[in-house]
């Protein structure tokens, strides 16, 4: 296990939930990518919407 200079408790099950969430999100991303790929035949791809909060 990676040894950090940590002071917070990651919480019981917090790592496990991240692993489950990542698996679910991986599947979701797979289908999202297929959707985007199909869409890209008809539309120009949109720019990523992530912008800083400022």
């Amino acid at each position: 296990m990676v040894q950090y200079l940590l002071y917070i408790d990651p919480g019981s099950g917090s790592y496990l939930v991240q692993i489950i969430a990542a698996a679910v999100l991986g599947v979701a991303m797979f289908f999202k990518n297929i959707k985007l790929y199909i869409k890209s035949f008809f539309h120009r791809p949109k720019k990523d919407k992530d912008t800083p909060p400022s």
Binding site: L5, L6, P10, G13, Q18, A22, P52
Partner: protein
């Protein structure tokens, strides 16, 4: 040189601590944090974050003020004129602080660093924009581990935002009640069933709560470490960003949200009042910081900021403060918006009640503006005028206060809801009450009204 003082909230992280010396705040970086600090500074991460305005810049000192052998170096962060608490932020402030945390996390990964904590207490607001103040929040990223601060982010940022989103209520008080964050199990229990239909909220709150409960029951404290790829981590961050992005608090018009819009319609009243207030502020010597208490949507706070003052703009109305914050994001003025009930200002909290200072001890204002406020305290909240005066005496040496007489339309509205009389609520009663603590330096009637503006100096 006087001895340094440990900051009472800076005790958790072994990487270093904040201390005060001769009225200035410094941060000591300990030798145990040597490689992490070097990577932050040398990888370009620090420069990148500071250039984006996401991290508070600092200057490195050449000496070791504490004299401790474990000190690697000491830095002096840029000074902020006011430290706010998350329980005093409006919805959009908390939402932007959450997004900033995720943006910094994403940026730091590019430099092989990761955030080791995710608490809103590490974020402050500077000229209407959130900024990370904890330079020691970064840890080495090895490319194969989950985010250690994931639960903290979910409980401290996501849970309150999602609760406000689904209830449509401003629930800032929850942040005061749960300084370590709202437990995911509590948030999950409070959320409506329909929140489960959102993939991101289901994962980060509902599933998180269920898995945590099972893990606790099974005393499975040490989850076997499995590789967690960079792509998986980036997907997780995107998902958290989506969850935060989807949170909105509908702005209903509240009792006070249209106060100045309505006041502006009264012939020349607001223009004349602005001019008079501006003149009276100019008469006070050496004013750098002003506290505008009962600021509404910050009309006078912004006016003072445009004239070069730093302003703390506090109001009880969350919608007004949120609107002020949104305006400040565009204007970038040195105004700190705050949700604050003056009849119960933020208390001192945390360990020994010393960790997080009370509003009164944090408010170092050279002048207090109290416009259209005294009737709300004296009549609305039944606080006797001498006690109102004593409050202002505690906060600032100068006070610019508006007396709103009983005959005023706004006071009449308050009085009709009350069954009791306020015999001392008169001009003479006001001067008598405030005269005990203050001397009257100026007394000017507000044109086009029966109100009076007093400039008072603490005795």
């Amino acid at each position: 040189m006087s001895p340094f003082q440990y900051h009472p909230a800076s005790y958790r992280d072994p990487a270093g601590f904040v201390f005060e010396l001769d009225g200035k705040l410094y941060r000591q970086v300990n030798t145990v944090y040597r490689t992490q600090y070097a990577q932050l500074m040398q990888s370009g991460c620090y420069d990148q974050l500071v250039n984006k305005g996401w991290l508070l810049p600092h200057t490195a000192l050449n000496n070791n003020p504490t004299g401790q052998p474990e000190a690697l170096c000491t830095i002096e962060p840029d000074r902020l004129f006011f430290i706010s608490h998350p329980g005093e932020w409006s919805f959009d402030m908390l939402r932007d602080a959450a997004l900033l945390t995720l943006f910094i996390l994403r940026e730091s990964l590019k430099h092989e660093l990761i955030l080791k904590d995710a608490t809103p207490f590490n974020i402050q607001f500077r000229n209407g924009k959130p900024v990370l103040i904890d330079t020691l929040s970064f840890e080495h990223y090895h490319g194969n581990e989950p985010w250690v601060a994931y639960r903290q982010f979910c409980e401290q940022f996501l849970a309150p935002l999602v609760l406000m989103h689904y209830t449509g209520q401003s629930l800032q008080q929850l942040l005061l009640a749960y300084p370590e964050g709202i437990p995911v199990a509590t948030a999950a229990a409070l959320l409506p069933r329909r929140s489960r239909w959102s993939l991101h909220i289901n994962l980060h709150i509902h599933l998180h709560a269920r898995v945590s409960k099972r893990a606790t029951q099974a005393t499975e404290q040490q989850t076997p470490q499995r590789a967690f790829s960079r792509t998986q981590l980036l997907n997780l961050i995107s998902s958290l960003e989506s969850a935060v992005h989807r949170c909105h608090l509908k702005e209903d018009s509240t009792a006070w949200s249209d106060y100045y819009t309505e006041a502006a319609t009264r012939d020349g009243y607001l223009v004349a009042k602005k001019e008079l207030v501006g003149k009276m502020i100019a008469a006070v010597p050496n004013v750098h910081t002003i506290a505008d208490l009962g600021a509404n949507d910050g009309l006078f706070a912004r006016m003072a900021a445009e004239n070069g003052k730093q302003v703390i703009a506090a109001d009880q109305d969350a919608a007004c403060i949120n609107r002020l914050y949104k305006a400040l994001k565009k204007e970038a003025l040195p105004v700190q918006p705050l949700i604050l009930d003056l009849a119960a200002p933020t208390p001192a909290t945390g360990f020994r009640n010393k960790e997080r200072a009370s509003f009164i001890s944090r408010c170092h204002a050279d002048l207090v503006l109290a416009l259209a406020l005294v009737h709300h305290l004296a009549i609305g909240r039944n606080i006797p005028l001498p006690m109102v005066a004593a409050f202002f005496r505690d906060v600032s040496p100068w006070l610019l206060i508006e007396f709103v007489p009983a005959e005023d339309e706004k006071t009449k509205v308050l009085l009709t809801a009350k069954q009791r009389a306020y015999p001392d609520y008169t001009e003479a009663g006001f001067e008598r009450a405030f005269g005990a603590d203050f001397s009257i330096e100026q007394k000017n009637p507000v044109p086009h009204s029966n109100r009076i503006l007093y400039l008072l100096k603490r005795k």
